[in-house]
């Protein structure tokens, strides 16, 4: 299935509807959004069920990383619906066991899974070894795993891969002195000062990244919310000036809506733009890919409707997720917390803020001024999906602040956003052979030894002789920190 780059941002073309078929029913939706968001706006939040415990799952990362939004589109299985643009006439089907046995059986399986002992799935049916083939052949298919649609069920079989999808043009971008992955403020500033032919790659269509798209939308909002939050206003100014500075360096080639998708050679990466996959070589790789959302470990951390800030930016600014009149719970602190809050409020959502960090008095004052509902001094205990496509967050009162309902405080919402410090993106550097270590103070895997240095850019030699430089959030720094060249 083609993964088209998504239009940016969604316009109000409500008159211009596309009709798709979802599990046999016609659904009318906006054509300029991703399938996952079109279905969300239509009231479909559960896009799949997890294959072991049958847990309902919905769009989570919104960047094609996770399993939660996979569906069968026009007969092709495992299509990432969060990255697939709606086209009129698309035939979309859920692809988990429910698709084979129907909803009642799915429900029964989910109930049964509650009594599965820990380790059931990887311990049972493995002994004796002589019978494992029998188990694999007979018992596994009973769950529906590995089955593809057939004509008898009225679903089209897998089409042959169209020959046109094979990429033959411009498959090699050539060699660059520098490849900068990530065109957020960090990547932009790095690219501005680098010498030699430089390639700048970002999965956002605009130079500046997803926060810039969110900040620009907020700046265009007539209510003047941005002016009430000095940290957001200065972030906008900083990223805009970094984006402007890019024009000053003519040696930089910017590729938007493109992703570095593999560290495949000692001195090269694979870059995907739409359906085109290309090789690109480097002498120096600047890894400014930012961070991934950290949801955290708590009961119900897989509940649909639970997002990190980065996913929310993409859902709102790229796909135009409709939140008007919805209730949102935001938990956390920092730049992303206030940016998400302001963005959701400007889109007409009702907010319930749970601030877990201290030292943000000016933001709290602004939120009080805006009559946003605020809670402080509580600890997140659990999030779960409840009826009516709602999530319920439960908090324990902490310290002296008592919860409104006795020992616990429950907040109900259509979506919950957890704004923790992100974890540095690390996969491609690691594939290239970088020496990484887990440093909790930096949020995740970062180059070994970087925590002992104050440097904003940390260099390492790769086994193939090329060099890699980590910077910004990918080095575990906060988004408010600035690269100094």
């Amino acid at each position: 299935m083609a993964q088209n780059p998504l239009p940016n941002p969604a316009s109000d073309s409500d008159t211009n509807k596309a009709t798709i078929t979802f599990d046999g029913k016609a659904v009318s939706c906006r054509p300029d959004t991703s399938l996952a968001v079109a279905l969300w706006d239509h009231g479909v939040r559960h896009l799949s069920h997890s294959h072991k415990y049958g847990r309902p799952r919905g769009v989570t990362c919104a960047r094609g990383h996770c399993t939660n939004c996979l569906m069968r589109v026009d007969g092709v299985p495992n299509v990432r619906t969060c990255e697939t643009t709606v086209l009129p006439g698309m035939e979309v089907n859920t692809q988990d066991t429910g698709a084979f046995y129907g909803a009642p059986m799915q429900k029964l399986l989910s109930l049964g899974s509650a009594w599965m002992p820990v380790g059931f799935y990887y311990k049972w049916f493995t002994k004796p070894a002589s019978l494992s083939r029998f188990f694999l052949d007979r018992i596994r298919p009973l769950t529906g795993v590995g089955r593809l649609p057939d004509a008898a069920r009225g679903v089209r079989a897998l089409p042959a891969a169209p020959a046109a999808e094979v990429t033959t043009q411009k498959a090699d971008l050539g060699r660059f002195a520098n490849i900068v992955v990530g065109a957020g403020p960090t990547g932009l500033q790095a690219a501005r000062h680098l010498a030699g032919r430089t390639l700048l790659v970002d999965d956002c269509a605009i130079a500046g990244g997803q926060r810039l798209a969110a900040l620009r939308e907020l700046a265009a909002d007539r209510n003047g919310t941005l002016a009430r939050f000095p940290t957001l206003a200065s972030a906008l100014e900083r990223i805009e000036s970094a984006a402007d500075g890019l024009a000053a360096n003519s040696a930089v080639q910017f590729m938007g809506a493109a992703k570095a998708v593999a560290g495949y050679f000692p001195d090269g990466v694979l870059v995907r733009q739409g359906d085109n996959l290309m090789t690109a070589r480097f002498d120096n790789l600047v890894w400014a890919a930012g961070a991934l959302d950290t949801i955290g470990l708590f009961p119900g951390n897989d509940t649909p409707g639970l997002f990190g800030p980065r996913a929310l930016y993409r859902l709102l600014t790229r796909d135009g997720l409709q939140v008007n009149g919805r209730h949102a719970v935001l938990i956390g602190g920092g730049l992303d917390f206030w940016l998400c809050a302001a963005l959701l409020a400007s889109r007409g959502a009702t907010l319930n803020l749970v601030v877990t960090e201290s030292g943000c008095q000016s933001e709290v004052a602004a939120a009080v001024d805006l009559k946003w509902s605020l809670n402080t001094g509580v600890v997140l205990k659990e999030i779960k999906g409840i009826g009516g496509h709602k999530v319920q967050a439960t908090f324990d009162p902490h310290g002296s602040a008592p919860g409104p309902t006795g020992s616990h405080m429950h907040l109900e919402a259509d979506l919950a956003v957890i704004c923790n410090t992100g974890k540095p993106a690390y996969d491609i550097p690691y594939q290239l052979g970088a020496d990484l270590a887990l440093v909790p103070q930096r949020g995740g895997f970062v180059p070994r030894g970087c925590q002992e240095s104050e440097d904003r850019i940390f260099k390492q030699a790769l086994p193939g002789g090329a060099e890699i430089s980590f910077a910004g959030e990918a080095l575990g720094l906060l988004p408010t920190d600035q690269v100094k060249s």
């Binding site: 997890s50 990429t167 050679f265 290309m278 009961p299 086994p463 193939g464």
Partner: protein
């Protein structure tokens, strides 16, 4: 496991449905390295290839073993970093020997 504790499942790896309880159970059974834990529980072998869970799991393991987090050895992570189609890969123009990168140390 009772229905009550099932409601309290904490998901470490969402792709392969590995809970924190399963991870701890596997550790108790003697799997004390990230690589063997990955193979036993399926953690980090799903669609996201560990983007969602490896740093969390490594942090848990450091705590269980009483080690510094930086002492935990990572599992191997091989390219690509996101699923690609064979059609896309077939379109690449690769030279001979263009198939290897650095992260192959123990041949696992």
């Amino acid at each position: 496991m009772s229905a009550r504790s099932a409601a309290n499942r904490i998901f470490l790896c969402r792709c392969e449905d590995v809970t924190l309880q399963e991870f701890h159970q596997a550790y108790k059974e003697g799997f004390t390295e990230m690589e063997s834990l990955k193979r036993y529980t399926g953690l980090g072998t799903g669609f996201c290839q560990g983007k969602g869970c490896l740093s969390e799991a490594a942090g848990e393991l450091a705590e269980l073993r009483g080690l510094q987090p930086s002492e935990i050895r990572l599992t191997n992570i091989r390219p690509p970093a996101e699923p690609l189609t064979f059609a896309q890969l077939a379109g690449l123009d690769l030279a001979a020997g263009d198939t290897d990168s650095g992260n192959q140390e123990d041949g696992a």
